[in-house]
Symmetry: D2
Subunit: 358 residues, 4 copies
């Protein structure tokens, strides 16, 4: 470990002043493989110290003292010369060009932005779900002549859904999925949702979210075929997305039609016995349990279960028959950790452990 | 009207101290047909004035001065001798026997309790949906030898669903329904949900609610056949029920499979052209519009739409294709008005206007 | 009245797209004296219809149909030629110049902005409190050579405080005041407070608010002396201002030292017997009761009392001895009605009724 | 330490099923000095396992597995024979007799109940504030012939106030205090406050709270004089207590009149240099910093600062002049940890370290 520490990989956070940017900073503190050496942001902070450029928004931590002093640099590769990995929390409006520039400059970009998620040679990666999709990186580099790469993570509400579906797909097949989400305010970033819009309210609409949830799920549960690219999973997914007045955690009600008749015990067993690659490899950010099934009749709950596994465990519960599709259940994950910054860090760890980034 | 006023029907509220009981009192103020003459409650208040027996819980009104002085009587027919109609807000644990006693004593009971909703000769009535189900009252009286009767209203989350489905059923047929609810805290009564359980939280479970929503929908959308009784609608309904931190209003995401191919315009037209019996009859509690479709992409919202039509209008929105079932949409109704006390008062008005109660 | 209606005064709303601007529009619907003929806003809407320029934010009303079609004009007097009264909901950054230009052009400006509140010849007016301060308008016009004028209303948390103190000052004198506020999110405008900052939180700081509350109170409770100007009340006021997660209504805990020993009964009697000028004159926006004292031990409450008198009544309660200053009590008023738009409309009504605007 | 571990003191929690009881259990997990060996509760659980008798209410922890199996015993000393220390989270209605019985039976009772707080020979103890008050225990035992004892902790809103005042009293003297609280829902226990009462609301009344806050502060900041007993601090304290919709943490706005003129720097220095006995002794539950002053203009905030020092640090901020009393500031502490269970555990640690309990 000390050897590792002495040679940690220098990383940067792009879009470091926003909420997901701050989550990246929080998660990178004391990381055994990665050393946060640079911060960049979209707007012109002119190299001012991070502590002057922004305020810390995360309620349960403080701005790390050594980060407070770091200058906020422009989002250009030449401004961040020594960086090997860039974690991108950039907004979609500007992420496209910037991430491309970094990848061209040889940096491995792990992005939380939506821009390249559906790009044919870019993996939409959740290591517990589709770690084999990293094969696309090889083709991406070959085809584009890059030494860097772009790897994306999923929309924050797609993450818990595919985490829940993957073990079922593997064992039984998944044919139809109907999901209704109750998403926290932090999913909209900062300042994000006006308090006047959401206190004592539910907003049954989040722009573009349902479309992303429906298509990203199928890409992630699909296959990477050499020479052919991504083949989307042939399932039908229908989504209802809602904003509710909770701080963190996206809770989802799912009805699912499986490929064959199975007992409830088999479904739960599929989840409980699922030990995906990050847990097998012992990746630093992998929680002990990727999936946790709770047997209480009223769990998971947003408040009580979002911090499971330091926000990296996906919690399941309430499996019961669905008169329409076969089974229904509830799934929850922390949206700014598991569904955003933590997911990207885990993606980077997988790529490092596989020798794709060094 | 002045004639009516001089001969208003004397009514009582059973379970007058709870939240739905207070809604009944609120809605009966100045009612043109009904005169609130008596209050009763389950526990022993020994005839104390209402103002001493309870506190007013509704935030936007005050305890009416003339109600404050009324004694809180025991829930026995002999204690309320002149009453023709009893509105019951009793809890399920005691509603069964008490409502029976009143019906036997010749009182028309309009109940918000769950006890008799599924009883074969008791109508589960929403006047905009199944006003013909009042035919069951005739049989109920004949069979049981009563001059009174029991009429129930639906569970507070079943009401908006069937309101939305009825015009579709009439025009196109409805085959499959998947509904996910976001229900307000007032749905649990008072004191109901502990603030510590729900602030910054979603609870994806309400005891017995999903079962009620699935079966009540089919009874209400079914048919009353003379000599045969209720024939449930042959549709499949699957429900996910959630408690969210809002005060009033139940919002529901619905996916639906119709009996034939129709355009979105036809679906909306089915809702907008629907003028059910209460509106035709001009019943006092019927809102101008039974159903209101909103074209904004983010409506209905719990806070903004729950009070439409003084809490009696059901608001719809976001009709769009569902990749799985055909169409999806959002529906909202006020749970303690439209879905509870207001629904019962409207039921009574229908029965009076049809000559079944006088 | 029909005569009045036929000759209603043409008025405009400046800053019509924000939350207070919308409150102005809401309150001016059907106003017997004022006819809303023009809307203006700070940013360039190029004459687009109001319905296209903004969304309606108020939860319990809809954008009025005739307002939806009005063009959103630039905030220049020449763009609103026929307007006699302008209600200003402009932000402080731009209100100064614009309001000045309108006053110079002969328009009576009733402003909710902070810019001129402390100006020596501008009244800071609450008709129930210091209606005699309108005398400053005469001097303002003479001195500045205007035919228009500028009249300001108070900060939204100063309003309930001075409403509570005025009757005490009149009868007993007020020497020391310590006030701690719990202010709603709508006080920050729209989008205002980020939901991520305030859900499950209290923020004990609102920029500039404590200073405003301390000094405005003394101006409003002071005297206008001909030739000398405003003489501030010689009382000491100390304020703590807090933001809490409520939608509307500013609740304030007050400790007060009166000019002489009085009984609690006398204090309450001072409030209950207070019939200020708007109620005497029967101004259209004056609620029946300017002040309402509630005897329940836990009132006023933000949710339950903010809408008293359609949001124009100030509610008091919990009068009890203060070991330090003599008495303590709680006071509440609706911040965007009584403390903002409604206050300005009432100011205009007072000036019209006194012949200062026509 | 391993020696200590092998001989940890056996302790029990009385009132183990409520919210403060659960906090006790949570805080006693892995405690180096205390071993939780028994649970008791007021109502008859007949020895059923804890997991069956109650549900875990705390959102950020799980019921410890070894505690889940413990039987819930009756609150009688003979039912808990081996216990040396009892932590009492009993409600006031029954705490009186039960705590007395345990103390008589030789058990050291550390109570969170209000019953004995004002008793002349019972210390109302906050180790950072009045650790010398434990001298009362000696007299309590002598006078009453007990080998056990009763030690109480303060009301949850008195704790942050006296924590803030003590260093000021020591250095400058404190003469007058005016405090206005914003208290979280968890302060009312479980189920405590109905969500319907508090969502979107502030309730400016908590029964008995203002009286407790005013008198407990003076006892804690007073002196224990041998032979004379407690001499209350001669300061004047006036309190306004409010319930706001936050989960945990009591925030308080304080105006204070000190014994002499001091600069703001001196006040902050008094707080920052204060190293009370628990920190000097290194008691296990003592946070690194008893008091933390934050220099940001909008801190402390309920959400962001309540968990400082694992909920045991008291956070201060916003020191500024008060026109009335001299200085004003804001103080915050976690009400169910620092202000309840954590405070009692720290009290027990102090008594053990002083040789009063073994």
């Amino acid at each position: 470990m000390s050897a590792q520490l002495s040679s940690r990989i220098p990383v940067a956070v792009l879009g470091a002043t926003g909420m997901v940017g701050q989550r990246f900073i929080e998660l990178l503190q004391g990381h055994p493989w990665f050393e946060l050496v640079a911060l960049a942001a979209s707007d012109q902070h002119g190299g001012r110290p991070y502590a002057e450029a922004t305020r810390w928004r995360l309620p349960n931590s403080e701005m790390p003292a050594e980060v407070a002093k770091l200058p906020v640099l422009p989002c250009r590769p030449d401004a961040l010369p020594d960086v090997k990995i860039a974690f991108s929390a950039l907004p979609g409006e500007i992420a496209g060009e910037i991430e491309l520039a970094f990848a061209q400059a040889g940096v491995a970009v792990f992005s939380n932005a939506k821009n390249y998620r559906m790009t044919p040679d870019v993996p939409l990666l959740i290591p517990e779900v589709n770690s084999d999709h990293i094969a696309a990186i090889v083709q991406q580099r070959k085809q584009r002549g890059w030494s860097g790469c772009i790897v994306t993570n999923a929309n924050c509400c797609a993450t818990p859904l595919v985490m829940a579906l993957k073990p079922l797909q593997l064992k039984f097949g998944v044919e139809k999925v109907l999901v209704s989400t109750m998403q926290s305010i932090s999913g909209a970033g900062y300042p994000g949702v006006s308090a006047y819009d959401i206190v004592d309210n539910v907003i049954p609409y989040i722009g573009g979210e349902e479309e992303k949830l429906e298509i990203e799920t199928r890409k992630m549960l699909g296959e990477w075929e050499e020479g052919r690219g991504f083949v989307y999973a042939p399932m039908v997914v229908s989504a209802h997305c809602n904003r509710v007045p909770t701080r963190e955690g996206h809770l989802e009600c799912v009805s699912v039609s499986l490929g064959r008749d199975v007992s409830p015990e088999e479904v739960i067993e599929a989840w409980e016995s699922y030990v995906p690659e990050p847990q097998q490899l012992g990746l630093p950010s992998a929680p002990e349990q990727a999936l946790l099934y709770r047997y209480e009749q009223d769990r998971p709950q947003t408040l009580r279960d979002r911090d499971a596994g330091k926000g990296m465990t996906t919690t399941l519960g309430r499996l019961r028959p669905c008169p329409l599709l076969g089974y229904k259940f509830v799934v929850l994950a922390h949206n700014t950790i598991r569904g955003a910054a933590g997911g990207s860090v885990l993606n980077a760890e997988l790529c490092v452990s596989k020798g794709l980034v060094s």
